[in-house]
């Protein structure tokens, strides 16, 4: 383990409360680090002046003797598909290159109201569509562990910025693994909350029945802190869950009592990278040493998860992205001669190739003659996948464990020409979104056989609204195995 670990939410907010760090210093530190790491291309833009103003406001409040808000001084980045009123919300698309949202996402508002300071917009795969960060109108983000490799996606900038120590918190979104997979590939923690836990108001829609906002952080405790403030009912999101939100930081390291953890046979694919298989086996040993009973289960429908996911998600995307018509907001192609041309030329010029591919795929699987064969079949598989997870939990398992991704970070450009092989990188994450469950990725070790040290992630999946259970298991696991930081 290296000593140059990034500041965590706890270390930052504690330092601010103790008067050892001002909010302004926290902001300047993040801005300096962001500039120092500019070649990573993690940020779309920085909101330096608004962040300094907010920090000074908080520092004045603290100097006056008032109790600071709980997250005072915590600097965070916002994925470019989550609306703020501080700058542009580009979704890493030419379509929204100059788009400034007239309203703020509930998730951003909740963190701001708790004293956290938004510092900039984070790079991503366009509209969340990608597993490498390469599908961005702003250019690819580089992996801080090895700049010739991808950081994963779609929350590429957030994972890279947290891994590089620029930020203690990034807001990401996860439709098919977009928080967990980049967190795994960058050696940081990422949690996708249960569908409905965090308001989607202000999250630009990709696939509405999957999308969830969640935190990317250096450690599990920081994830618990962020989640405690992010979750909660929002009357302005019709899918928001009206349930009480526990303090996720409480009992984080408490003895969980007897724990059973299910491991699906399907998580041990022969196609896993050998370093992934080895690290996963070592992780299971570590969980056993911590008292967990590992139970082998069979979840046959998981093999169909990637296919089912890419059918349903692209179907929803084709509908959601129909709103970009060049009329009300976003890009309009110049000199279009008719309304029809405004639509087609604006969309063809505004969307990148992967987005166009997914819109066409989604349009096809919903079109007359194909909807039964593809869309409805995928929705049936989705129900069975959910039932298989439910069955594991009904056996008394507190979590299902799998690797987060079958491979360590791959080289930039390695999979760009072959969408189908890129989609297979999501084999372990998409089932969770199909079933709407919470899942966390926590670092489980390093892959070294490629010549560079590359981090790997362990995924722990819990029953709906049981984020506490997987945070507890992940925190205990992290305490046993430690954390890793990229070479300086």
């Amino acid at each position: 383990m290296k000593t140059d670990q990034p500041a965590t939410t706890m270390s930052t907010t504690t330092s601010v409360r103790r008067g050892e760090l001002t909010c302004r210093q926290a902001v300047e530190n993040a801005i300096n680090a962001a500039h120092r790491h500019a070649p990573l291309n993690a940020f779309v833009e920085l909101w330096e002046e608004p962040a300094r103003r907010r920090a000074d406001e908080l520092d004045r409040l603290i100097a006056s003797g008032a109790t600071p808000p709980p997250l005072a001084g915590l600097v965070f980045g916002v994925k470019a598909n989550i609306c703020t009123t501080l700058g542009r919300t580009t979704c890493a698309s030419r379509m929204l290159a100059d788009y400034r949202s007239p309203f703020e996402a509930t998730a951003v508002r909740r963190l701001r109201e708790a004293g956290a300071i938004p510092i900039g917009s984070l790079n991503m795969d366009e509209f969340g569509m990608g597993s490498s960060g390469e599908n961005s109108a702003h250019g690819p983000t580089l992996n801080p562990w090895d700049r010739t490799r991808v950081p994963g996606g779609s929350s590429s900038g957030g994972a890279a910025a947290v891994a590089a120590g620029i930020l203690p918190l990034a807001l990401g979104s996860d439709t098919g693994g977009s928080i967990r997979q980049p967190a795994a590939m960058c050696g940081v923690v990422g949690i996708k909350p249960t569908y409905g836990r965090v308001s989607r108001l202000g999250l630009v829609a990709y696939a509405s029945s999957f999308d969830q906002i969640g935190p990317i952080t250096p450690d599990v405790h920081s994830a618990a802190v962020a989640l405690t403030h992010l979750c909660g009912f929002d009357p302005d999101d019709a899918t928001s869950a009206d349930l009480p939100v526990p303090d996720f930081t409480r009992d984080l390291l408490a003895d969980p009592g007897p724990v059973r953890i299910a491991v699906p046979r399907q998580a041990r694919l022969g196609s896993n990278h050998p370093d992934v298989s080895a690290a996963f086996d070592r992780s299971l040993d570590s969980l056993r040493q911590d008292g967990a009973q590992i139970v082998d289960v069979d979840m046959p429908m998981l093999d169909a998860a990637v296919n089912a996911y890419y059918i349903v998600a692209t179907a929803e995307a084709s509908s959601n992205l129909a709103r970009y018509d060049g009329v009300r907001y976003g890009r309009r192609a110049p000199n279009a001669a008719s309304l029809e041309e405004v639509y087609t030329r604006s969309r063809t010029e505004g969307f990148g190739p992967e987005v166009q591919r997914r819109i066409m795929l989604g349009t096809h699987v919903l079109s007359a003659g194909y909807a039964d064969e593809f869309y409805l079949t995928a929705l049936r598989a989705r129900r069975v996948i959910k039932q298989e997870f439910d069955a594991a939990f009904a056996m008394g398992c507190r979590a299902v464990a799998m690797p987060t991704a079958p491979n360590p970070a791959f080289r930039l450009g390695e999979k760009a020409a072959d969408p189908a092989s890129m989609y297979l990188e999501d084999v372990y994450t998409v089932g969770v979104n199909l079933a709407g469950l919470p899942a966390i990725s926590v670092p489980m070790g390093l892959s070294t056989s490629t010549g560079t040290a590359l981090p790997l992630g362990l995924q722990l999946i819990g029953p709906a609204f049981e984020e506490s259970a997987i945070l507890n298991l992940a925190a205990r696991f992290e305490a046993r195995v430690g954390r890793w930081s990229p070479p300086a």
Partner: protein, 105 residues
């Protein structure tokens, strides 16, 4: 990549693009045709599953309608929203003619 004769017919790809309001170039059509065919061929594996009698699951959440009181609340100012439009003549959004010179659209 699948062989030429198992590719999605080109007219199907062009129709899908038209439905999606996209106008890819001929070269892009050829590329998308190969890539979509490849992805769809893999997705076809779903057909071999026995899913008879399984109800499709479109949404995992609570699917009851959530209604609220029918009372006016705050809305975004129309100036703010109008300012986002690429072309406008308040209170209207401006677009080119819907019907072309020859009456075809």
């Amino acid at each position: 990549m699948p062989p030429e004769d198992s590719l999605l017919p080109e007219d199907v790809v062009r129709k899908v693009a038209r439905l999606a309001k996209l106008a890819p170039s001929d070269a892009q059509i050829a590329l998308y045709r190969r890539q979509l065919s490849d992805v769809l061929a893999r997705m076809g594996a779903l057909r071999s599953l026995d899913l008879s009698g399984v109800e499709p699951l479109a949404h995992v959440g609570d699917t009851r309608n959530r209604l609220r009181e029918d009372v006016p609340g705050p809305t975004l100012p129309s100036d703010t929203v109008m300012a986002l439009a690429p072309d406008r003549s308040p209170p209207f959004l401006k677009v080119p003619k819907v019907l072309g010179e020859g009456g075809g659209a």
